[in-house]
């Protein structure tokens, strides 16, 4: 199994993601600099990590979405490769048009950094199958702009199509309909604000994030 973690200037969870994937799944993880134009051959999982790519210039994720590597990330995602954007990675997927909606400033204007309880709203996705019907999982959030927004029609469609994957049990930031994570229509691109990469072994307070990486690779 092979995974790639994309490294943008300003990414700061890239190494966390590498360690989290290696320890949870044993996969071989390549770090791919954003200026690369091709992903390594045979990648089964692509992760866009958290951080502050390009210093959040213009809008969070806006510049990273235009990085050279993103053309191949999009092509791989269109071929069905499992792609996960965590935190800033979620913002990048939205800015790149790979997921609907956008992430706004938290409604209380503060940076949120705390453990969050999440409902697994769709346990049938390739990313959540490993939770084996568990309704509640624990991760942490760390963001200033994690307030998911989309127009009502898009939210209705996301809910109707089972594309809402995780919801906050206690909404920490004003996210529309308590949404913490969504998948695309094809089900192979996941974006979430909570960090599975900071919850992959019990010493971190939760190992629930490990199951997400295991599921993503088990389905590859």
């Amino acid at each position: 199994m092979k995974a790639a973690v994309i490294v943008f200037p300003g990414s700061n969870c890239d190494r966390d993601c590498k360690v989290a994937i290696e320890r949870s799944t044993g996969a071989e993880v390549s770090m791919v600099w954003h200026q690369e134009t091709e992903l390594p051959d045979g990648v089964d999982l692509i992760v866009l990590p958290g951080g502050f790519s390009y210093g959040d210039y213009l809008r969070c994720g806006a510049m990273a979405a235009l990085s050279p590597v993103m053309a191949d990330v999009k092509a791989a995602a269109e071929r069905g490769v499992a792609t996960v954007g965590i935190c800033n990675g979620f913002q990048i997927l939205c800015e790149a048009g790979m997921l609907p909606g956008a992430l706004l400033r938290n409604d209380h204007l503060k940076y949120n950094c705390k453990p969050v309880a999440l409902e697994v709203s769709n346990a049938q996705t390739r990313f959540t199958a490993g939770y084996a019907g568990r309704r509640e999982v624990a991760m942490t959030v760390g963001n200033g702009e994690g307030n998911f927004f989309a127009d009502a029609a898009t939210l209705d469609r996301l809910e109707g199509e089972g594309q809402v994957v995780f919801r906050y049990l206690a909404n920490p930031n004003g996210s529309a309909r308590d949404i913490a994570g969504i998948v695309n229509g094809a089900g192979n691109v996941l974006g979430l604000m909570p960090h599975p990469d900071r919850a992959f072994e019990p010493e971190l307070g939760s190992a629930d994030g490990a199951i997400l990486f295991q599921s993503a690779l088990a389905s590859a």
Binding site: L58, P100, A102, L104
Partner: protein, 79 residues
Amino acid sequence: MKAVVHVFLKPGVLDVQGKAVEQALHGLGWPAVGHVRVGRTIEFDLAAGDAAAAEAEVKAMCEKLLANTVIESYRVEVA
């Protein structure tokens, strides 16, 4: 030509920054202030044949990069 782009959150999108600034203005003694919106202005030079062509190009830039039309609206001035 000089292009100026104004980008604001759309009316239906909660502008928490605007709200915070509004509260601060109230606190400073301007209670009459309402509906504060905080946006961004981007200006640049552009070589273009005429104003209409320039405006069309700048709008394309807004759609592709300068604004996120899921949450933001924009206004273009070309002179």
